[in-house]
Symmetry: C2
Subunit: 248 residues, 2 copies
DNA sequence: TGGTTGGGTCCACACTATGAACCATGCGAT
DNA sequence: ATCGCATGGTTCATAGTGTGGACCCAACCA
């Protein structure tokens, strides 16, 4: 499942065997054998020419069958389109995946300078990035602690300037402010604003966010964008509760 | 992966442990352990109250990430909607999954009598059902033989009246006729018409189909519906080739 | 109260995954 | 032409992990 996930993260060009070995904690023969098993099951496929591994049809099939329960992107697609159109910047749907956030949908606006700091499939610990931070801040305190604890080592190692302590401070200001702001903390100059999305039972599902260069996120524009996000989020959330998808 | 698939097939109400044990060839402790592993990985989730198992968020995430490569339903959604609206009957998107066909999308028309012979998530051997038969007939002969051989035992056991020999005859007439017709072979009185969909490289991706009661599939209406299907299939196929999704 | 059904777990045992070492192939440089 | 070096892929003794019959428990119903 770790491998499946890595293949998913690898984007439209897929992943090579070597890349997967490097990204996983497994040895080459093991990776290869597991990939063969995934291929047999249809969850992964290998391009005959390039020898690279991609997600298989069965992933798509299972995903489609899981849509009635979890289909956030469908419910948010038009909201994201409106956000991108209205702002001219790039809009995203991010979803929670345990203690990480996955970017599932990206819609570019018309403005000529576009940040590519966040691409579809990318995963970061909760709190890293605007949408991701919005989700983290939306969690109940117990869960927040658990998530931060789980991510602690990865944060300190791979995300300098986003150590647990700083993250907690960010969460606090996010909660007061009402929306999450990423002031170029991951890629310098690439700013973002995000708001969380919840299922009708209150659990955090994902987030809507906007990204742009620093100059386009200064007051008073930042507040305007945040208002835009909040209104679209409300729209999406009513839709999420209407389709009474989830029993639990 | 077999279990994952079974959970997927089980529809929106999920599956109980006992059902999964029965449907799989595994023993109860094994099923339970594998399910726990799938739950750990986020591919499956268990409803705390009902104790039933459902597809998890990660299935949806992987499915979304696989959409650029395999996203048939998105490409066919509006065509299916038009089919259902124009015919008043129920329209389907089916996809190939090895030697089986999976129903991924179902759109009901306005007509008051609706067949529920095919529901989303249902899987049958290739050749069983209109869309499924359309796919089988669209395969090159070598592949057709392989598929029929693989399904032989299941066909004879579970689908009386659709033994390999009869299926081959059906394929022949389908190829001549240009579209697949299921004259109530699975559920008496429930008829269907289907046409195959191909990727731009010629490989069979899935099918579009319509289902209705027998009386609504008699000449000349059957031919009219087939024409409708063919034209929508053409639309979908041009869209499939435009998004040059697949390298291989 | 007693029987039945379904969910979930234990642990001796058998089988299966593991990875260091190895082979094969494609490609750029000399 | 030939070498060197990535990168993809495979082998096989060994360590370790999954397997399932038997069992427990709770809920439900007569």
């Amino acid at each position: 499942m770790m491998l499946l996930n890595l293949v998913g993260e690898s984007g439209p060009d897929g992943a090579s065997l070597a890349e997967l070995v490097a990204a996983s904690t497994l040895e080459k023969p093991t990776v290869r054998r597991l990939l063969m098993a995934l291929i047999r099951g249809g969850l992964v496929e290998q391009d005959d020419k390039t020898r690279r591994y991609h997600l298989g049809v069965d992933c798509y099939i299972l995903g489609t069958l899981a849509t009635p329960r979890h289909g956030l992107v469908d419910m948010a697609a038009d909201a994201v389109a409106r956000l991108a159109a209205a702002s001219g910047d790039t809009a995203f749907v991010t979803m929670r995946r345990g203690s990480a956030a996955v970017c599932l949908h990206r819609e570019e606006g018309a403005y000529q300078i576009r940040t590519h700091a966040l691409t579809v499939g990318a995963q970061h610990p909760l709190g890293v990035g605007a949408g991701s931070l919005a989700m983290l801040a939306a969690l109940p305190d117990a869960e927040l602690d658990a998530v931060i604890a789980e991510n602690a080592s990865r944060l300190s190692e791979s995300y300098p300037g986003l150590e647990p302590k700083i993250l907690r401070a960010e969460v606090a200001t996010t909660r007061v402010r009402g929306y999450a702001l990423n002031a170029g903390r991951i890629v310098a100059g690439s700013w973002g604003i995000g708001v969380a999305l919840r299922w009708s039972d209150g659990t955090v599902a994902g987030a809507l966010s906007l990204a742009a260069i620093e100059s386009r996120m200064q007051p008073p524009r930042d507040a305007e964008l945040a208002a835009l996000l909040a209104s679209e989020a409300a729209t999406v959330e009513t839709r999420m509760s209407r389709g009474l998808n989830r029993a639990n």
